[in-house]
Subunit: 93 residues, 4 copies
Amino acid sequence: MSHGYLSDKSAHLARLKRIEGQVRGLHRMVEEEKYCIDILTQVAAVTKALESVSLALLTEHMNHCVVQAARAGDDEADAKIDEVMAAISRLVK
Amino acid sequence: MSHGYLSDKSAHLARLKRIEGQVRGLHRMVEEEKYCIDILTQVAAVTKALESVSLALLTEHMNHCVVQAARAGDDEADAKIDEVMAAISRLVK
Amino acid sequence: MSHGYLSDKSAHLARLKRIEGQVRGLHRMVEEEKYCIDILTQVAAVTKALESVSLALLTEHMNHCVVQAARAGDDEADAKIDEVMAAISRLVK
Amino acid sequence: MSHGYLSDKSAHLARLKRIEGQVRGLHRMVEEEKYCIDILTQVAAVTKALESVSLALLTEHMNHCVVQAARAGDDEADAKIDEVMAAISRLVK
């Protein structure tokens, strides 16, 4: 079953490949005992990249699933919004 | 040159390996078009794992570099604290 | 014009009154030169309280404005979702 | 007993006064049922302002308490760093 984010699927996959490479780079930095602050800067960059992935996925989820649920009826809308708000809370914290 | 986090080096490396695997898992989830909310939950888990790596590295940096700088003199202390505060700001934002 | 969060209006107002009191408490702590770490703990509590207000307001916005826009048509839905995603991005960062 | 952040005390107090005013502004916005997204933007501004207060207090704490503890001995340094790392963790989460 498709979940509606096919439009940007290859962009998401490319981003995640890049993040995987960045995490491998972090491993190498620790392996080679690079300066701690430089590693922290790099971890912050990976965190920002993951945040962008989250926001992109969330946008597609809103555009598809939430909109469809809203149109399907009040109960469907309530359930989808509860679910997405729980996901947003996890992102914010 | 060693930067003082050797004590936990293998623990950091193991954590980063696990995170790399988690990012690969995210790639697979998008590839297989898993449900968006489940992917978001997984991204939040990776972000938390990276946060733990950051805090662990920062603790070691404080215990070694910052303490040494404090003992070396006021200028050394000031420089190291400016640097670490910039890194902490990036973590907080 | 009403914006749909009337249901919990008095709860939001009560929370904001409490937060105002907490900020006044922070002022007093700095005035009396309380221990820095204790002040930081208190700032973190206020930040969490504001985060709860944000999430509560966002939930109501989703339940009312976003659902209505989704039902009004594709353009209305797109515009509301762009707007709410911008707000969520500001919360996440 | 002084805790070493006297240098910027009046700046901290002025900032907290401003934040208190901003929170009062939020109360007014909810009272008058302003548009949700505008209130969320304003909450984000208050959160950023509190974050700046935290980072400023933390910088002074590092410059004074942490440096002094580092010079006092290993046990003192360990205790202060444990304490400050716990505070930083609360800021990051």
